[in-house]
Symmetry: C2
Subunit: 233 residues, 2 copies
């Protein structure tokens, strides 16, 4: 089963200037693709923060970064990823050629977009600029429309076995069911059982409904756990 971490790079998200659209998009798409998202982090535009997260995520199959790949002083993702992977930055000749073809002058600022971690790979899709990969890390732009287009260019690389789900709702209280739920969870280790009370928003707040979710890549285990849950409810 492929695993992934998402690293959203951007002061503008943490400060609330812009709402993160890429994290929610990736949550939905990685799920649909059957890739297990294990961590999502939003960090500021600093080398240390980016490098630290990339280094910590060495154990995941994929790390998806968004943001921080433009020409300005606060675009530090390539350099941060390189440091996190323990690799130097190198000038990618193919990217320099693409820069020239798109009519941008080879200024120091523009060349920032062509300095990528050593051992990089370029994934060409339908976009004019490729996606840059290095190690387990896929480096995407932060602008949502660009991000989505480029992610879909390479989405197949994230595909895993599909995740099967079931869901139950009950008016019984979570506190009354907790111990029985723990027993069902222990009996079916291949099934992830979640328990989510919904609360009303009124003056005197109280639990109004309990949503129970079951998830597994094993269809038989899922059915058996769902049956056990139905007997319980």
């Amino acid at each position: 089963v492929p695993t992934a971490a998402v690293l959203v790079v951007g002061d503008e998200i943490l400060s609330g200037k812009f709402t993160d659209e890429n994290g929610p998009y990736l949550i939905r798409r990685l799920r649909e693709l059957g890739c297990d998202l294990r961590r999502l982090v939003v960090v500021p535009d600093t080398l240390d923060a980016i490098a630290e997260e990339v280094a910590r995520a060495a154990g995941f199959d994929h790390v998806v970064t968004t943001g921080g790949v433009g020409p300005t002083h606060d675009d530090l993702t390539f350099e941060g990823v390189a440091r996190g992977l323990g690799r130097p930055l190198v000038l990618a000749d193919e990217l320099v050629a693409l820069l020239a073809r798109s009519g941008l002058p080879p200024t120091e600022a523009n060349l920032r977009m062509c300095r990528v971690p050593e051992g990089y790979r370029l994934e060409f899709g339908r976009s004019s600029f490729p996606v840059v990969r290095a190690g387990n890390t896929w480096i995407f732009p932060g602008v949502p429309s660009l991000f989505r287009k480029k992610f879909e260019d390479v989405a197949n690389a994230f595909r895993g076995a599909p995740i099967l789900t079931a869901r139950r709702a009950t008016s019984r209280r979570e506190t009354d069911l907790a111990e029985a739920l723990a027993q069902v969870a222990a009996r079916f280790p291949a099934v992830a059982i979640g328990s989510y009370p919904r609360w009303g928003d009124g003056e005197r707040m109280r639990e109004e409904e309990l949503v129970l979710t079951l998830e597994s890549r094993d269809a038989d285990a899922l059915d058996q756990a769902a049956e056990a849950l139905d007997r319980l409810l």
Copy 2:
């Protein structure tokens, strides 16, 4: 200036079963309160993930956790925070008394909600149950309506000097402005300058507008940087 990290605990967010509402709420409120949010992480319901994030966040003034504080087998936040802070769990007598008063039997499941990190503090607001603090960590429920009510009970503790902002928009391209922007940024280190191109969503995507933002707690520095930017544009 107070600093903060947010730790959202929940398989249900990473798997897309529920959309995170608490992270965006905290981004907005911490900003309004003048508290610098430095990291936002979403982790699964596992002890290791929670403990690791709490330990990493030792240098922040505040860590706000949401989720994982109910009675079920996957509610591990109190235990994870305790481990992250290097403290044992202890049974909080005041919480056991509140449990009894709300008519919940003292089952093992319900007592999970009363076992909190040693050295805890209880912050009573308008809610019937208090917010639990330990070290720099504030532990909140994940249910959004409950979370918001409890956060507002203690929001004043997060207050810092207000952040002043200015914003400019231009039709000039980011690549043409990058070097001049870097010079302005270097001249005004007390001002954070952000550069955010907006792209159209059409067939042939291109940069349509560039939004420049300035932020500082120093009003004079902000004005001077804004003037320098205006001369540039």
